[in-house]
Amino acid sequence: MRVALFITCVNDTLFPGTGKAVVSLLRRLGCEVDFPQAQTCCGQMHLNTGYRAEGERLARRFAEVFDGYDAVVTPSGSCAAMVREQYPRLGVAPPPVYDLSEFLIDVLEVEDVGAAFPHRVTYHPTCHSLRGLHLGDKPTRLLRRVRGLELVPLPGAEECCGFGGTFAVKNPAISAAMCADKVRNVMDTGAEVLCAADNSCLMHIGGTMRRQKTGVRVMHLAEILDAR
């Protein structure tokens, strides 16, 4: 099976650790991972903000770059949902993208990835993973098998954190109010770590928590699953 990693522009630039964790995890599970270096961005920011021409160009480029792979694995539920849901509307045939947890559970059929992470963790499912990809309990099934990890439920988990891409700067007051409620719910769990499968949402929630000096860390799912 030819597996390609789509790192996403945000992870590539700001969160390379997540990409390294995905590579290390997939190799450990016996996958050969390719990183097509011509990749840049799926076009989500442009398309969702109303810049269709730029977004479409990026979508076509994405489809060319990842043409011929059996699976394109990405550590972003939002970008995966973008490719799967919106590309067909643009007349672009979507390559077979998988969010990391989908790929692990549905394709590799593993739940126990051999990770150990002895911490109290709560999980934010993120909107596009939840309502776009319908990941359901796949990410938490993976987390439950991590040695030493105590998974505590997040109240109001299914509610948006208020990131929403450019929404965060176009409607900052509402975005911040949504995040304030999310942070309060995270604090109520008493977790040391907030985990999610999307670094964009974590950048927003984590940035707010750091500003408030809460002491709660944010970690991408891949990094916990790669911890030993």
Partner: protein, 469 residues
């Protein structure tokens, strides 16, 4: 659509003000979460909900595709039943038709059944200017009217008011309210009941909307909770119903689907207390149906946007929307607030004003609205489509073009990343311009020493990995 309702600024400005109002936040959160929970329970009881939802969508899509035919069929059926049919191209025409009909009765007072279409065209304001007083009879609409206020929710228009505020409004504006009125819900309802009973008995003309109109029989249908609507529909000698052309259903059989979808989605009830149907004129009552376009045919012509016409005004999308919950209805500046308003208002009114151009962005695209919509309107899809039609601010356009240029070639992206890495120590804590909105409440992530792609290239060169690229 001509009527402006609510706050005067664009959505972000209005929302930023509203979100500071802690009383409003509390009222909205309590009310939306209560209805949201009730809806989830009663929808969860139906094992065939997905099928019902698909049927609702299919019936609406079919009807909209053949709307020309069904509207003519409806007109013929209403006329056969002794009713009069009037066609209104826009708000002005509809208002003129209704005013003339009321004038012809010689009356200068009308009672009203809760109706979105008449609010959309600003009928009450128009009638007032013509010397005709319209009395709202839905309890919440009465509260809004007495308070010289605007509705902030489709189903519960006074959602932004709590009972203490309602008591205060009644004491101030309802002449026959008892002086010792308390803020107990039962006492408030009783005061309104006595006040309205007087109006029902006195009024000779009633104005309503309709939730559905059946083409095959010409029957209008209104679903309500209080029975006040039924008073208006049955007592007066003249009944005028203003109905959007998208409210048509082909047959009575189709109604079966919507009588299940609507109450469960709107009030979270298995069945609403009052369902009234009427067909044409009856002994003692003359009936007029005013069919309203007011932008709907333009919406119908839009391949993506037309799905908004499936809307049955249940408000389920408002009650789950995290943005509506914090901004409230007035921030949307329209009788249609919340997610459905964000796609309906700019389509009906156009994207010309700052407010209407900001509405497609009044969403984080979280998708909660689509999940609960009983006719499966893909609100995020329409929002994104509308965003592509908005005139974008110049600075934003320049930034997006630049980003598009960088992302068009991997070498450009790699160079930009290396540049960011080189100057990472100089990264400001606060961003300039519109991006300062990010750093006002959030810390920026640290720029890493090396991008992922540079790390990959380096480990490839070293031959560490097994990867081939």
């Amino acid at each position: 659509m001509s009527v402006f309702i609510g706050m005067p600024g664009d959505f972000p400005t209005n929302a930023a003000k509203a979100v500071q109002n802690s009383q409003l936040r509390y009222n909205l959160r309590k009310a939306t979460h209560t209805i949201r929970g009730k809806r989830a329970t009663v929808v969860g009881e139906l094992p065939d909900w997905p099928e019902l939802r698909a049927a609702g969508k299919a019936i609406k899509d079919h009807t909209l595709r053949h709307l020309d035919r069904y509207l003519v069929q409806l007109e013929e059926a209403v006329q056969r039943a002794g009713g009069h049919v009037h066609w209104a191209r826009d708000a002005a025409e509809a208002n003129r038709i209704v005013t003339d009909l009321v004038r012809r009765t010689g009356e200068n007072e009308v009672v009203k059944v809760k109706s979105m279409a008449t609010q959309e065209i600003g009928l009450n304001e128009h009638l007032a200017a013509e010397g005709i007083t319209a009395f709202e009879t839905d309890l919440a609409e009465l509260i809004v009217q007495l308070g010289d206020d605007y509705p902030s929710h489709i189903l519960v228009p006074a959602i932004h008011r709590n009972r203490a505020e309602i008591r205060e409004i009644f004491l101030r504006r309802m002449g026959d309210a008892p002086r010792d009125l308390t803020d107990e819900p039962a006492a408030l309802a009783e005061a309104a009941r006595l006040h309205l009973r007087e109006r029902f008995l006195r009024s000779k003309v009633a104005i309503s909307g309709a939730n559905f109109v059946i083409a095959e029989t010409g029957t209008c249908v209104v679903l309500e909770s209080e029975g006040n609507g039924r008073m208006c529909l049955t007592l007066p000698e003249t009944l005028i119903s203003v109905v959007g052309i998208e409210k048509v259903l082909p047959t009575w059989r189709d109604l079966e689907v919507f009588l299940q979808l609507l109450p469960r989605s709107s009030t979270g009830e298995r069945m609403n207390p009052y369902t009234s149907t009427w067909t044409g004129s009856t002994e003692g009552q003359t009936f007029h149906l005013v069919l309203l376009d007011n932008g709907r045919t333009t919406v119908l012509a839009d391949e993506v946007g037309r799905q908004a016409l499936r809307c049955i005004r249940c408000s389920a999308c408002l009650n789950v929307c995290p943005v509506y919950e914090r901004a409230g209805g007035h921030a949307y500046g329209s009788v249609y607030p919340g997610p459905i308003g964000a796609i309906l208002t700019p389509q009906l009114r156009g994207l010309g004003s700052d407010l209407d151009a900001s509405l497609p962005y009044a969403s984080s695209l979280c998708g909660a609205c689509l999940e609960v919509c009983p006719v499966a309107i893909d609100i995020p899809e329409v929002l994104v489509d509308l965003r592509a039609k908005v005139a974008h601010p110049r600075a934003e356009r320049a930034g997006m073009r630049a980003a598009g240029w960088v992302l068009a070639k991997e070498v450009r992206l790699a160079k930009a990343q290396r540049l960011a890495t080189r100057f990472r120590r100089l990264a400001p804590g606060r961003l300039p311009g519109p991006l300062s909105a990010w750093t006002d409440t959030r810390d920026l992530p640290e720029i890493p020493e090396e991008s992922f792609r540079d790390w990959w290239a380096r480990q490839e060169r070293r031959g560490e990995g097994k990867a081939s690229s």
